[in-house]
Structure formats: structure tokens, C-alpha cells
Symmetry: C2
Subunit: 377 residues, 2 copies
Amino acid sequence: MTTDIVTSRDSPLDRFIAVIPAGGVGTRLWPLSRAAAPKFLHDLTGSGSTLLRATYDRLEPLAGRGMLVVTGVAHRNAVCSQLPEIGEADLVLESEPKDSGAAIGLAAAILYQRDPEIIMGSFAADQVISPDELFQDAVREAIHTAAAGKIVTIGIKPTHPSTGFGYIRSGENLAIAKAPSAQSVVEFVEKPSEDVAQQYVDSGEYVWNAGMFVAPVSLMLKHLEANQPELFKGLTEIAEAWDTPERDEVTARLWPTLPKIAIDYAVAEPAAAAGDVAVVPGTFRWDDVGDFASVGRLNSAREVDDVTVLGEGARVFTENASGVVVTDTKRVIALIGIKDVVIVDTPDALLVTTMANSQRVKAAVDALKASGDTDVL
Amino acid sequence: MTTDIVTSRDSPLDRFIAVIPAGGVGTRLWPLSRAAAPKFLHDLTGSGSTLLRATYDRLEPLAGRGMLVVTGVAHRNAVCSQLPEIGEADLVLESEPKDSGAAIGLAAAILYQRDPEIIMGSFAADQVISPDELFQDAVREAIHTAAAGKIVTIGIKPTHPSTGFGYIRSGENLAIAKAPSAQSVVEFVEKPSEDVAQQYVDSGEYVWNAGMFVAPVSLMLKHLEANQPELFKGLTEIAEAWDTPERDEVTARLWPTLPKIAIDYAVAEPAAAAGDVAVVPGTFRWDDVGDFASVGRLNSAREVDDVTVLGEGARVFTENASGVVVTDTKRVIALIGIKDVVIVDTPDALLVTTMANSQRVKAAVDALKASGDTDVL
């Protein structure tokens, strides 16, 4: 379909392009994260970088300027302001959310049009990872494994029997050069019960599914075509028009018609069943910052007594208190004799809950939505 | 000293003037109550009236326009705005706080100068009372008792063995006309332990000291002169100049030199020892709103599930929560899975504590003071 322009490349690392899906409102992080300012636009770790900026910086040593950011049109200005390096060609804007199958599939299809030899890596913009070097080591192994014809997930060595993550069961070592730890994937398993999670951790055969993967774009599209032919057809048509004057017309016509499906179901699981998926276990620290309890566990935040404080202007006073305070106001916040509390203080909304209840924030957002108080969502 | 101009009055009720000491920062109600806006200027009950306004309205049927408000110069505008009825002659402004002995003593001395037959009643501006009629019945009995030559406290029938209030031990009935429940006072006792408080309640002989009293101004001054001659002398000199062009000069010279002492020690306790104090038990509901836990008990506030909400613009959402929310912002406040919490939300300061810890708010204020964060105090 295109001429082979990449045969002279020495290393698969030279064919690597990083894709950053920057989507998801992060409802469980309301009121800090909200429709107009989702969590990837925030500094949730007290590092001084937003999650999006930190994701870009973590990938830059591997991908250089070879990055594609996929986000909603509403976030265009915020994303461009946080990532001044990226150009028009590096930004894929969704007019409406269509789940990860369409978002990552479109990135794969666009990259395939630009160069069918590209190895893409997809890394969500809202995860916290450290140290960067261990992450980069794992991605390098994944790129070498992908070059051998695999869709490669990066699995996280579990630190506890989490019931909030999916797991990946790994099989035999694949004996790939420059990827000594790459293993076959036996199966993906959904979020388990606590007992089952403990068995997984004890067995040593399971890693957390962090939703990261590295793959040749051609292999991604092959499995997408096999499993979701309608989605594949629409994405290919959009991708063919993408770098032409027809982009807007074709996208406006086709994007709204695409099916909504997660990339896991559209590609990863059927590819695993076909024996095409590998896993590289990562030993870096990883958190998906799914709720404020996980914000509290991030160790780069400031501690005031036993209270983790996030927010530049924070003026927090505590007496016999513990928990997490996240603020983007400059108000004085005084905590007295209250334990494991979660306080999120924004100019127009205040959340007070406990570490144990922080997963239930979504319910509050749903209640606000139902009551018509959508100005703060 | 003055001519007797009051012999023609039919009832001691006609000689009654109400004094409203409106002072005290209410530190334990920070950040709602603060130096620039103390608690009496707030609506803490959700009634639509501030504590000061409600105090005035409760006394008006007894005193008519015969009222004197004693407050700090800083609160002049707020007080006049909440009580547009009061004139210049009804306002006693303190240039600096000098405790209740000087504040109430000055009111007594000024009233004595205006008319030595006056019976004054002193009622703090920061208490919550209901129903007004039972309160007024008790004050009427107290006025008749005062006319018989007593300093009359109004005691509150205890509803529980509080360790936060002082108690009054009552003696025999005084058999005063139109004051059937007036009794002698055996002694004032300081805040007791819980065991002792329970004995007090069980005995039926004790009432809470609500700090209210009714007395002939001449009798007040007689005891003040006997027990605090220096304070009496200074106050008399100020009072003689009060309704003259010399007021400012004399006050500025003498007020700062006056000793600081509570009216209890300066007058009430020595007068009780001399057998000059009576008590009228009040059966009305009374709360001194000393902390946010007591704010939560005030029953005129709005309930959102199990959360008591105070604040006109409040937009509170709760799920499995209980406690008190006091807000003077219009922010959305969401409480999820947190029990017995106290949240006070103001534009520049936020307090989060528990009902059980609400007495400790003062410690936070002290810590802020020590740290130099006095802008929010």
C-alpha cells in the first residue's frame, strides 16, 4: 500500500512512536477532576508536573518528538499549553468520546498511513510511575518484543492483592534478544475477589494489567480488522483522509457512527487467544490514581503531620488528624481530631469523605448530575 | 444625688432597661466567628435572625426601646445595621475589651446617672433561647424580685449533667408577690466533674448559670463599690461624663486603666455571700452555642439526611453522612460516608473536625495565631 521507507533502520527503537490517550473525566477524583479539567491536566503528586506533562517527559527519551496525543476537542488548549512541543500533526482530537478501541485504533490507523513499519506504544496520560528509568527499560524490552511480532503489554509486579485492577497470567519466557523478561500471555483476567487476588499474588504468575501496550501498528490493525471489521473500516477511512484536506469532512461523517468498545475487547483479548500477545513485567512503581486514597499514597506529596497535602497554595493546619488534603485554593484549612479524612477543596465545590469511601465519590457526582447541579461537574 | 423622678410608676416593669453585652470573639466557632465578625453577628440557628437581632427581639416586649447595647468599637457598624432601632444613646462602645465587670458595670453606672431607680437586666447577645414567652415570664418574675432588693439570676433547669456550665444552688422560696418561683441563692459553683454534675441534676436543687441577671442598678453599684472600689470609681467618673461633651476625653483617659474582672467575681458571688442574690428558674430551652456541636443541636436548622445545615446559600449533598455543615459560601459541599463531622466553610478558611472535637477549635486558632496567619482570625 505504501513503499517501504524504513528498511534501513538499525533498531526497532527507531520505529517507535508513543501514543498518549488523554481522556476520561476521572469522576472519582471530583471535584478536582471534572469534565472541563480532567485528572490528567492536574498535578496529583505534588511533583510540580501535571500527569500529562509527566507522561510526555517519561516517554520523550524513548520517542523523542515522535508522539501522538489523543484527546477531546474540549481539552485542545489545555493540552497544547501543557505540551508546547507538540505540533498540529501530533494531536488527534475526538469530537466525542468513543472509548479506547476507537481512540487507540485511530492512532494506529493514522500511524500506519504515515509509515506501516511503526511500532506504537500506548500509555494513558493519567498514571503515576516511578522511577522513569525502570519504566523506560521495560518499554525498550517491549519494543524489541513487538518487533518480533507481538502485541506486548507491560504488566506490573503486584505489591498487594488489589481487587481494583485486572490481572495478566504470564506463561513461558519468549527468549527474545534484548528482551530477556518477555513472556507469553496465557490470559487476561478481570478484577478478582480478594481471595483470588491473593492466590494470584502468591503464585508469582500474575501481573497487574496497567493498560499499556506496545505493538507494530500493522499487527494492531490486523487484529482490529479480524475482530471489529466495522470499526476497522471506519477508522481506516478516517486515517486515509487524516493528513489531507478531507480530514474534517470524513471525520465528522464517520466518527459519530463508530462502535464504542474498549481496546481490551477489540484487540488485546482476542489477540491473546490467538497467541499473539506477550508481557514484559515492569518493576517500577505504578498507580492509576483512581481515587483520592491513591492520591494519598503517592509519596512525592508534602506531609503536614499525618496529612498528605497537595496544592501549591495550601495553608493546612492539623491537630491530631490524618488523611489527604487536595486544594487548588489558598484558603486556610484546619483539621482537628479527624482521621483518614479526604478533603478536596476547589473554588466552587468541596468534598469531604474518608479514605475508605473515596471510591464512592462517583455516586456523589451522579447525584449532582441527577439534581441538575451540573455547573460544578 | 438626683431627684426622685420615678415614684409615680405603677410597676417595677416600667423601670426595666435591658442591657445586651455583645462581645466575645467566639473562638471555638472559628472560622465562622472571628475577630471582625463575632458569633453574635451570625445566624447560627437557621432562623433568619442573627443571635444579636434575636436577643433584641426577645427583649423588646419587656423593655420596649429601653435597651443598651455594649460592644466593641469595631462592631459599631454591624450592630447598628442589625439593630436600626437603636440610637446613639443606646450604644456603649468599648475601645478595648475589659471583661464583663467593666462592660456591665459601665452600663449600670450610665443607667444610674440617667435614673437611679432603673432595674437593669443583662442578657448576652450570643445565646439561643426558645420559646420567647417562657423566657419573658422568667424575666418578669426576676424584675419583681429585683424590685424587692435582690440581684436576680435566671437559672436554667438542667436537661443533662453538663460539665461545660457553672451551676447555681438554690435555697428557700422568697415568697415575693408576682414572683412565685423566686428562690434564694445558696452558692454559685464552678463547672463540675461529670459525677458531681449528675448529683446536682439528681438533687433538683441546682440550675445552670446562664449568666443572665436582673437587678436595681443601685444595688449592682453598691456591691461593685464594696468589692471593686477602683473599678467602681473609674466607671462612675466615665458614667458622669457619658451624656456630656466630656465623654470621649474621660473615657479615653480612664477606660484603659480599668481592671479586667468578670462580673461574677466583681458582683454576683460576693453579693450571694451577702445574701443579696436570688434565682428565678427558667424552663425555656437555652444554649450558649459554645461550639459547633451545640450549633448542631439547635433544632431550627435545616436537615439534609442526618446532616444539620446552616447557611443561606448552602448546596449540600450527603451520602451516608452525619454531622453539621455551616457555610457562608455558595459552594457545593459533598459529604460521603463520614460521620459526626463538623464542616465550617467560609470564603478564606475551612474547618473540618468532629462533633466530639469541636471544643478543641480554640487550639487551632491559637496555632494560627502563633504561626502568624492572623489574616483569617
